[in-house]
Amino acid sequence: MLARHYIGESWKHGLLIIGALIVLIPFYMMVSMSLKSQQEIQSISGGLVGAQEIQTFPVCTKHGYTEEVCTMRPYKYNFWFAFKKAPIPRYLMNGLIVTVSIFLIQVLIALPCSYALAKLRFKGREFVFSMVLFCLLIPVHAIALPLYVMLAKAGLVDTYAALIIPWTISVFGIFLMRQFFMTVPDELIDAARMDGMGEYSIVWKVMLPVAIPALLAFAIFSVVAHWNDYFWPRIVITGNRDLFTPPLGIREFRGGIDSDEFGPMMASIVTVTVPLIVAFIIAQKRFVEGITMTGMK
């Protein structure tokens, strides 16, 4: 009876473990390859971290560094060389500037919009909201070309503006926040009005603090999507390396004489991925705090 119970339970766990492995193995490969030497990567040996023997790296010397400089342990080399080869801090900075600007402007626009759609009574409100829902159905790729032409005509190609402007109005954000605001009791807004707040004060001083949990959920979606976005930056950033976002930066490691050197490439990918993971872990903690924030009803 008991054994049978365990068998019944274990196949579920087995299935879940397989699913988890499918997700985790690429990460494992990435971390492992960023630490190992080229020979170990190619011969698929050395486990997670490899032997970490001090050696001289030929690609490094080919780039004109002295042999002395190019002799070190593989993990150190991979990260050191990744940073030497491409201005990764610059890319990370660009990623930060772009994602943070996008998110802030999205919030700036989405909060008043969703407040109006959820809590103010005006003619055509339902129609406007149905248009918001309709916009959710338009894929980015369908409007990429007209967008590009518009930006090109405005002379904005190869600027931060080109990376930011198309994403500032997030219909998903408006939709998400509107759904959240629907659950906020009207009395709270009435109380704020009695206290003498104007509609904009209500949005920023009452609705915003109340909506922190929902905003965090939205932040995760928004930041992850735009940090990882390769498609759009690839279109509007044509040559200026100073404007490369992290995914464009990783592309630097493809092609050229040392295209098959995976160590530094994986090291750069680790560097680009870690900020997201850290941000997610921090946000997750706040997320739970936010959800347990009661006292509204």
């Binding site: 009395e187 709270l188 009435d190 109380a191 009695m194 003498g196 603090p209 006292g295």
Partner: protein, 372 residues
Amino acid sequence: MGTISLNNINKSFGSTKVLKQLSLDIQDGEFLTLVGPSGCGKSTLLKIIAGLEQQNSGDVIIDDKNVNSTRASKRDLAMVFQSYALYPHLTVRKNLETPLKLRDYSFVERLPLIGNFVPSRKEKKKSIDDLVFKTSETLKITELLDRKPGQLSGGQRQRAALGRAMVREPVAFLMDEPLSNLDAALRVHMRSELSELHNSLKTTFIYVTHDQAEALTMSTRMAVMIDGELLQLDTPSEVYNNPSSLRVAEFVGSPKINTFDAEIRSDGFAEFNGIRLEKKFNTNSQKALVAVRPEHLEITKDSNKPAFEAKVSYKENLGSDIFYHVQVDQSDSKIIVRGSPQAGLISNGETIKISPSHSEAMLFEISGERIR
């Protein structure tokens, strides 16, 4: 001062008329209760007074000033809501300070950081602190000032919400069913506290409730509203003992008033269930309704008294009183009679004789108007 007049207020949402030509005068320092079944428009009326809702026509006059186009915050009223509506992200202290800061600080003084450098702010901050402290002392919430609403119990939140209304020292308090989220014992306790508060503040209170017990116990006058109309405005005892229409009589009083079909005889006396009421009424109708409250029906064994027979179908023992739900023999109507526990036990299914109090019986037209 806190007199409020409403003149011919009309309000409709879409095609539904919520308020119909409603007029009401509220005196200074009065505890006025707006009472009525849910959906009768009493909360809408309160919102119109507050300025949170705009009437379709009619005037709201506060202290002889027409405030139709005055914003809610400029009307100098304070409101307490059913769900308390405290700002969940602010401490109780900040919740109490908010209306004062918004009223007293200038735009520059309200700015974060920069505001700190405006010299006049310091003085205002001190007077705000004093007011908040004074209010919290009155309501006994001083030790809760640094907590957030989420950490408070229902009763404490209720006090904090009251505090937020009180700090402004408004011309009138508007309360929208403030006690209905509390448990029964606390509700009864808060009733007396609110009455005391009203006595000490001597400010006008306008109190919306669907609970007639609250209306009867607390108010100086109560306004009974049904279906968007003001049916009666009078002291609680007058409304209870002398209702102007059958709808008022049926709404006020628990258990509900009993009604009987009656015939008006040619000599002007009403007769129901074979009993002639010893009271002359002024009407031309042939048929009418007699209404008698449960406490004005007496269970009697005296065969000389005019009485009708009925069978007990259900007993409700409240300790101090027993309410008998009885089936009247000749008709299929059910009525409720109050009996005292001392009168001895009557078991279900037993037939009893019921004699109405002639002086307390009220007569209504079939349409509901009172016949006096």
